[in-house]
């Protein structure tokens, strides 16, 4: 490590002491419900204070949508350590469920919306029982296969409108969707935050860290993985269910959007996977950047996305929240009686 590097790190430490960051993160963690409440109030007050349906409301609604998708991905990908490339399958299933039910069967939107979540969960239970037996790369590939197969099925069937899709004209107002996506996001954040302090949440993290050990400790990991997968499918299905009407159009390409699947993973990683705030921060941040790029340099957003993923994975594998947390706790071990480690922890620290 060069001296200038040392200096700059020292400077950073004096401006932003790790202890302060640590205190800040602890406070956030302890007052999660308060922060979630404040965030909700802020989001609700925007339309009340005069944000009208239009470009900005649509952009913010999409931010909520992506936050739901990223956070759902993270329940399985981040918390449980099973990186899925097929989450958009549940989005598509939800989207087609509301589209078909409201258009062809004259269901009221709220009923169709609930059924979209139910359909996604039911299919997730079946698919999960098969693909969750696989680990690592094999799991990732299998889930990608699920996504592609689901997309192909919707191209073939008549009821989905085939490749040309479905146009949906009778849709609720833009403001309705703003509040609907917000509500789903808030509920999901609440659920994930709550679970992260229960033993159910601990088991998911344990599966991520060492599944064999978790099994040896008496946990039927298949059961927990499937539960997490179904929970993720529920919220992804809700998001899809609302999206088809929000977008007034659905076809196999938009419903099972592979690029979005990469985008939502990038958001979770960028923000900090395995946390509650991380995927949401990542979704808000990355979607804002993508919107800006889309406005000023049409077509470059995917290039930017690819670049962002590479930079994140190399530079900040823990994402924004994870990097902060790491920074805050760097001296933790030594402060709390870890001095014995100075002799023999070389092996341990090298694989961190």
């Amino acid at each position: 490590m060069s001296t200038s590097d040392e200096d700059s790190r020292g400077a950073l430490r004096s401006i932003l002491p790790p202890e302060a960051v640590d205190r800040f993160l602890d406070t956030c963690n302890d007052h999660g419900w308060l922060l979630l409440g404040l965030g909700t109030v802020a989001a609700v007050s925007l339309p009340v204070l005069g944000l009208e349906a239009g470009y900005f409301m649509t952009v913010i609604t999409e931010m909520f949508l992506f936050a739901i998708l990223a956070l759902s991905w993270d329940i399985v990908g981040g918390q449980t350590g099973y990186p899925s490339f097929g989450n958009m399958a549940f989005f598509g299933i939800g989207a087609y469920t509301t589209a078909i039910l409201t258009k062809d069967f004259a269901f009221a939107f709220p009923v169709a919306f609930v059924l979209a979540g139910v359909a996604a969960v039911a299919i997730a239970a079946v698919i999960g029982a098969v693909v969750l037996r696989l680990r690592g790369h094999y799991f990732a590939i299998a889930t990608l296969g699920v996504l592609l197969a689901a997309q192909q099925v919707s191209r073939i069937l008549d009821i989905t409108g085939g490749a040309s899709g479905k146009i949906l004209l009778q849709t609720p107002s833009g403001e309705t969707f703003y509040f609907l996506f917000l509500a789903v996001l808030v509920v999901e954040m609440g659920v994930v935050y709550y679970l992260s302090s229960t033993r159910f949440g601990f088991v998911l993290n344990a599966i991520r860290d060492d599944e064999e050990k978790a099994t040896a400790m008496g946990f039927n990991t298949t059961y927990y993985k499937t539960a997490a997968w179904m929970l993720a499918a529920l919220f992804t299905g809700f998001a899809g269910g609302a999206y088809s009407l929000f977008n007034t159009f659905i076809d196999p390409q938009t419903a099972y959007n592979g690029a979005w699947n990469v985008e939502l993973i990038a958001m979770a990683l960028l923000g900090g996977s395995g946390t509650v705030a991380g995927p949401v921060i990542g979704a808000f941040g990355l979607h804002t950047i993508i919107e800006i790029v889309e406005s000023y340099a049409v077509g470059w957003q995917l290039v930017l996305l690819g670049g962002a993923v590479i930079v994140t994975v190399i530079g900040f594998p823990n994402g924004v929240v994870g990097t902060l947390r790491e920074y805050a706790s760097e001296m933790d071990y030594y402060k709390h009686g870890g001095m014995a480690a100075t002799n023999d922890d070389a092996e341990v620290s090298s694989d961190e």
Binding site: L195, S197, T198, R199, F200, F202, V203, N205, A206, R208, D209, D210, E212, K213, A214, T215, A216, M217, G218, F219, N220, T221, Y223, G274, S329, D332, Y333, K335, H336, G337, G338, A340, A341, N343, D344, D345, E347, V348, S349, E352
Partner: protein, 261 residues
């Protein structure tokens, strides 16, 4: 002796056997890793399992814990045939396991590792969806104090040294209060002073918590000091059984370690 008394005696005898294997055999292709092995571990014992490298010790452990299913033979846990049970169910039934390469959940805090280990309430959904209660938290503090990791409760387990992780893994087993604890080389890779502590911890767990212990060990001084009885495996077969003194003077055992058939 009448038949009735003989019957009762067998019942008592099998009650005392927390763990019993009956002719366990495991083959990998043409290799017989474990061949027709019988062991019987009684309540309150510390039993050692030794043998040269490749003798089949870890394979036998894997057959007992359900990680592998034996090709032949039965495994009984507290009198119940658990041979075909899945691994997690055997663990729930009271079998704890410490791995050879110390395994803790590295990205979770030390306290969460311990909370997870508690078997209280088991896999009951309602229980899992509640936050850990105060008595559980108090128990984690107590155990961390006991193994001298009290200050590190909120540190990520992966940050700790190897020895500390080993202590944490041991504390996790204490937390789960197993009927029988299988330890694969507990003394491997830790320094002599910590080894002294570990011996005390194992003895205390055995005496105070009434945990029965079955351990694989290569460190002869350690195993001879701590074990009540020892089984010796070589080439997958059980070649000797007895007290540490008997084993130390057993010619077949010496031959096996020196490579003589």
């Amino acid at each position: 002796m009448s038949k009735a008394t003989a019957g009762t005696e067998t019942a008592v005898e099998s009650d005392r056997a927390v763990l019993r294997t009956d002719g366990v055999t495991k083959r990998f292709g043409g290799l017989t890793a474990v061949s027709d092995v019988n062991v019987e571990i009684h309540r309150g014992e510390i039993v050692g399992l030794i043998g040269p490298n490749g003798a089949g010790k870890s394979t036998l452990f894997n057959c007992i814990t359900g990680t592998l299913t034996p090709d032949e033979g039965q495994v009984y846990l507290q009198g119940e045939d658990v041979t075909d049970w899945p691994e997690h169910k055997i663990a729930r039934a009271g079998l704890g396991r410490m791995f050879q390469e110390t395994r803790v959940f590295g990205d979770m805090t030390v306290r969460k590792n311990l909370l997870l280990a508690a078997q209280e309430g088991g896999a009951d959904v309602g229980n899992l969806l509640r936050r850990p209660d105060d008595s559980l938290l108090a128990r984690t503090d107590e155990l961390l104090d006991y193994v001298d990791l009290a200050g590190l409760a909120d540190t990520r387990a992966g940050r700790m040294s190897f020895g500390q992780q080993k202590l944490l893994e041991f504390a996790m087993e204490l937390m789960s209060e197993p009927e029988i604890l299988l330890m694969d080389e507990p003394a491997g890779g830790i320094n002599p002073s910590m080894l002294e502590n570990l011996i005390d911890y194992i003895r205390n767990a055995n005496e105070d918590e009434e945990t029965t212990i079955f351990l694989i060990e290569h460190n002869m001084d350690f195993v001879m000091e701590i074990a009540d009885r020892i089984y010796v495996l070589a080439h997958g077969e059980r070649i000797a059984e007895g007290t540490p003194e008997e084993i130390q003077n057993d010619q077949t055992v010496l031959d096996a370690y020196l490579g003589r058939e």
